[in-house]
């Protein structure tokens, strides 16, 4: 019984983790840009949902629909105006660029929202679903379903649509894609926009669950790194699998070795993966 509850906890947590990592993985995989901004985008999405709810009573699920186009535009513009200028430079330079932008964004949020922890508390709360003695918090369950839906949509977009195929083509071979008439710069901007969209859309989900602070960005970013290595870079299903795996491993780790070792365990796993299967669980084959 306890094991089932722990498994359920791990799966719903994993859904959130997948949500955190999907956009990050996409941008890293396709653009070869390590987007340090990703964590702060999530936090910003969280604040958007918090204030929308506190000021106007807008439900965080609705906020997702507001956040998605806004963050897509933000990401698109950022890539077009700034990051595209550096895109051919070594990865350390683009990392520095996004690191600098992240400093500006997180400190800007610090000034705008203060460092006090805020929490989006729904009134009335969504409650708890009891499945034969296994408690499943409805907000997490929703978040997991939405995370799955968002990642699923992203997957469909990449595998079915013209623009998605172009993104995958650029990911596989930039020169060849350009020769085939793909506008590489535009594809880069769209990809970065999608990554930002995923971050901004997961913000409202996470705001219902975790306290929000301008400085929680790096925590999410750290998780995103682990999940990408677990699942394989640039692969949407990989982020899903990696997220779920991390959630379940952390949950059982806490049960078996005590909660203080749950994080140690996930990083041990990370090192083992890097040593023995550096391409991640899904490898490099399944790009989209």
């Amino acid at each position: 019984m306890l094991s089932l509850q722990i498994l359920a906890n791990g799966l719903v947590l994993g859904g959130l983790y997948a949500c955190i990592a999907a956009g990050f993985s996409l941008v890293w995989g396709v653009l070869n840009v390590i987007n340090i901004l990703h964590g702060s985008f999530i936090v910003l999405g969280g604040y958007l949902a918090y204030y929308a709810y506190a000021q106007f009573g807008i439900h965080p699920f609705v906020s997702i629909l507001i956040a998605a186009p806004l963050f897509f535009a933000l990401g698109y513009i950022l890539q077009r105006s700034l990051i595209n200028r550096m895109i051919a430079a070594p990865v350390l330079l683009t990392l520095s660029l996004t690191f600098g932008l992240d400093l500006m964004l997180s400190n800007g949020m610090l000034v705008a929202f203060t460092a006090d922890f805020k929490k989006l508390t729904l009134d009335p709360p969504l409650g708890v679903l009891n499945l034969g003695g296994i408690a499943l918090p409805v907000d997490r369950l929703f978040a997991m379903v939405l995370a799955l839906a968002l990642t699923g949509l992203l997957y469909l977009l990449l595998s079915r649509s013209r623009i998605g195929r172009a993104i995958v083509a650029v990911r596989m071979d930039r020169e060849a894609a350009a020769l085939m008439g793909v506008n590489v710069k535009r594809i880069y901007a769209v990809t970065f926009g999608l990554g930002a969209l995923m971050a901004g859309a997961s913000g409202p989900l996470l705001a219902m669950i975790f306290p929000i602070s301008p400085l929680s960005g790096p925590v999410y970013l750290g998780k995103a790194f682990v999940i990408c290595v677990l699942g394989g870079l640039g692969s949407v299903p990989g982020a899903m699998i990696g997220g779920l795996a991390l959630g379940v491993v952390e949950s059982f780790g806490a049960l078996w070795f005590g909660p203080e070792h749950a994080i140690t365990l996930s990083f041990t796993l990370l090192i083992l993966m890097l040593l023995f299967r550096p391409t991640g669980l899904l490898g490099r084959t399944g790009y989209a």
């Binding site: 203060t114 006090d116 922890f117 929490k119 508390t121 400085l215 952390e250 049960l255 909660p259």
Partner: protein
């Protein structure tokens, strides 16, 4: 994770650059000003705590300066606090402390936030024989190093758990099964261990005692195990973000218990506003509460007046962190005035001899430098307010059982 390394390196370069710029104009000190160094976690996860400490310290500085300054022998001197950000990173707090002493040449020091960082920094301040007041360090391990220059205004941790355990034993005799979940950090772990002792001493069974790592994003596993042992009393420790998350997840998993105690978080307004109804009946203890009433000879005059001045400046009621940082200034001021000089040894001796009344309560330091004269209040969130339930002299309500 290799990409984290360049990020650290970048951060270090940025720090150096900032330090170089900051050092240029900062050195012109006003004549006849007492300068106190305060390394604080102004950025990083602990920044809300630094904000509180700054609120208290700034209010004290303003009030003391408005009264003409601190009396040193025959003349009055203005006072100024030199803040340094250590980015919630304890090793950096130690460096910041050393920098304040050797480069900024401050006259006195306030400790960094919390027991862990205060202990780490105290080895530096002791080396330079620098009188240091710790506003927020309660664990005895901070004071048992045989240091002569460190003084703290929080009583030892067991002074928080003992009265609470007494009260629960007396009013809820059925409470037998105890579960403890502690943040693996100096103070949160130390107070959890005190709770374990307090519970066992009263014949209760501690069925679960686990630590969680700093930065944990999910407590569902630990809480599921706690639920499985059906405790009567759940005691969780950590800082405000941890405890908001733990309480939220307790509600998520449908965990209810007659008594739920959380340290330290429920003393803060943000805890109650973040959790709403699910904060109801959570108990906690702190070293101070705005409901205490003392009349003092310090710059504030009384607890009531301190609360009033605080409210006028910040628009809210002070909490214990804000009060303890203000009283750190008060204690230092009283010691300087008693010594009549800025001589570090003389001020240190005046601190050791101190036996006085402040708005915070009576202050007298024990042989280790930790205050021994305070009686910390126990309180409970009732109808969205923090209501004092102990000590009997100032209580505003009685212990209510049942936390959902």
């Amino acid at each position: 994770m290799t990409s984290i390394l360049p990020r650290r390196a970048l951060a270090a370069i940025a720090m150096l650059a900032c330090g170089a710029v900051a050092a240029l104009p900062g050195t012109s000190m006003a004549q006849g000003t007492i300068r106190i160094g305060a390394p604080l976690p102004i950025t990083g996860p602990l920044s809300p705590e630094a904000k509180k400490l700054q609120n208290g310290m700034n209010l004290w500085v303003e009030t003391a300066n408005k009264a003409g300054g601190i009396k040193v022998g025959a003349k009055k001197m203005k006072v100024e606090i030199v803040y340094v950000d250590y980015q919630s990173n304890t090793p950096r707090a130690v460096q910041a402390t050393e920098k304040l002493i050797t480069q900024d040449k401050v006259d006195f020091l306030f400790s960094p936030f919390g027991s862990g960082a205060a202990k780490a920094a105290s080895s530096v301040s002791e080396k330079y024989e620098m009188p240091t007041i710790a506003a927020t360090a309660s664990s005895e391990q901070v004071y048992d190093q045989g240091y002569k220059y460190l003084f703290g205004v929080y009583t030892p941790n067991q002074t928080l758990t003992e009265p609470l355990a007494d009260l629960v034993k007396k009013q809820a005799g059925g409470v037998q099964r105890v579960a403890i979940l502690a943040r693996n950090d100096l103070f949160p772990l130390a107070i959890a261990q005190e709770m374990e002792k307090s519970a066992k001493k009263r014949g209760m069974n501690v069925l679960y005692f686990e630590k969680y790592a700093i930065g944990t994003l999910d407590h569902a596993s630990a809480l599921s195990q706690i639920k499985a042992v059906a405790p009567h009393w759940i005691f969780a420790t950590g800082y405000i973000n941890d405890l908001i998350l733990i309480k939220k997840q307790m509600s998520d998993l449908g965990i209810e218990a007659p008594v739920v105690t959380m340290v330290a978080g429920p003393a803060y307004k943000e805890f109650v506003s973040a959790l709403g109804k699910s904060a109801e009946n959570v108990t906690s203890a702190a070293w101070w509460h705005p409901a205490v009433r003392y009349t003092s000879k310090d710059v504030f005059g009384s607890t009531e007046n301190f609360n009033k001045m605080f409210h006028a400046k910040y628009g809210t009621e002070p909490d214990y962190g804000e009060a303890s940082s203000a009283v750190s200034g008060v204690v230092l001021q009283l010691a300087i005035e008693a010594a009549g000089t800025l001589d570090k040894k003389a001020v240190r001796d005046a601190l050791a001899k101190m036996n006085t009344m402040t708005f915070f309560g009576p202050i007298k330091f024990g042989p280790t430098g930790q205050v021994v004269s305070l009686d910390p209040p126990v309180f409970q969130v009732q109808k969205g307010r923090q209501v004092v339930i102990l000590p009997a002299g100032i209580k505003q309500g009685d212990l209510q059982l049942g936390v959902k």
